[in-house]
Subunit: 219 residues, 2 copies
DNA sequence: ACTTAAAAACCGTCATGCTTGTTTGTTTTA
DNA sequence: TAAAACAAACAAGCATGACGGTTTTTAAGT
């Protein structure tokens, strides 16, 4: 944005500052943590005054909640786009695992865990974010069902498998905060992808066995 | 503690207040989050004055770090005790999964994730907690090795499997913050336990197949 | 087209409350 | 009597929400 347009409609002005604040909030929560992100920080990062912030959001918490909703709605959109492509191109379960890993690794996991930890002891905040989180899980269920269809397994089974995938990814990212070791995580993910493949092919016994990245030793 | 002993040695007094502060810190971090835990809170919860707190710890961060170390050392001790029992009683991989789930679910995961999120953007703090985290992982590796021995698989393989277990558990607890559904988590854990069993029995093809809790449908 | 009044967006200051670390004083033990 | 443990008051800083004032846009009205 070289030179801001000299004349913008009220709606444009409003939407632009609002949007800038939402983006800044997410970026700051990711970078400095929720507790380390003050309203002044957010206003400054968004390039607006603190007064503008208070004009658009009635409290800090209100802004945070809106920012999280904003982020999740975008993620849901990405997920839906991916799902369409997945169906169209006959994707494999590996693609889903990779996609979720990338998606969560950007900012999604860190920001959501910051939010969840706050929500854990702030019931009002929890109620605020609950609806959009529900929407997120519905979008996930949708792709799980597509997967079940594709591999001819029970939806229940696919859901368990994929929820497990998400949990594993969450846990891996959590660990990656202190243990920086891309190869380790890549290995773990490969391990899991093979496992998922085998699980989905479970009705064809012959193909199931070769899991795990390391050779086994006779007992 | 009805009536505090009227006469305690300096060492006793010191150790008692120190210990009370460490315990209070962990309890409060678990209950109200790291950011929501002030030095006044900790002193009050420990039943000592804030002056006593500042006498024993040179800063809030110093106390927090000591408390985390305290917590992890206890967890390491528990892990070692369990490992001994595991070997003595010829335990199964299920026992390990159950043990880790219980252990992490008490306070360990929530508190560590609070700490890790802080450490993520506070290098000095990260350096402080790193050594004890390393010790924790060494204790874990130890039990992984025992497991590998027991099932006659490559240590590398057992480590991958068990690190995956830990990641899964972490992710599950993270999700459990917003989704309260014990049956769901129990199911996921069963699912995983079966998978681990199959993986460890991987060199005996015939026994591998029946994973997953839901029946499969022909394609 | 031009003026003008209202509304919306925006800005900056102020008051309040909380937190931390410091410091000075008191009690308990050695 | 000295030192350690403990207690309480103090000072400085920061964050939030409130508030009064300013600029920009909109919508009439003529």
């Amino acid at each position: 944005m070289a030179a801001p347009r000299l004349r913008r409609s009220q709606k444009e002005r409003s939407e632009q500052t609002r949007s800038a604040l939402l983006d800044a909030a997410i970026a700051l929560i990711h970078e400095k943590g929720l507790a380390g992100t003050s309203t002044s920080d957010m206003a400054e990062a968004a390039g607006v005054s603190r007064g503008a912030l208070t004009h658009h959001f009635k409290s800090r918490e209100d802004l945070i909640a809106a920012a999280v909703e904003h982020m999740l709605l975008i993620a849901i959109e990405e997920l839906r786009t991916f799902t369409k492509g997945f169906i169209a191109q006959n994707g494999s379960s590996d693609d889903i695992v990779d996609f979720l890993w990338d998606l969560m690794n950007r900012r999604l996991f860190i920001v959501t865990i910051e939010i969840m930890l706050e929500a854990r002891h702030n019931p009002a905040f929890l109620d605020t974010v609950r609806p959009v989180v529900r929407e997120w899980h519905q979008a996930l269920d949708n792709i799980w069902n597509q997967l079940a269809d594709r591999y001819g397994v029970e939806p229940e089974f696919a859901r368990a498998l994929m929820n497990g995938t998400l949990c594993l990814i969450r846990g891996m990212i959590a660990q990656s905060i202190i243990r920086v070791d891309p190869a380790y995580y890549a290995g773990l993910l490969d391990f899991w992808k093979r496992d998922v493949r085998a699980q989905l092919a479970g009705d064809k016994p012959g193909t199931v066995i070769p899991l795990g990245s390391a050779p086994r030793v006779a007992r």
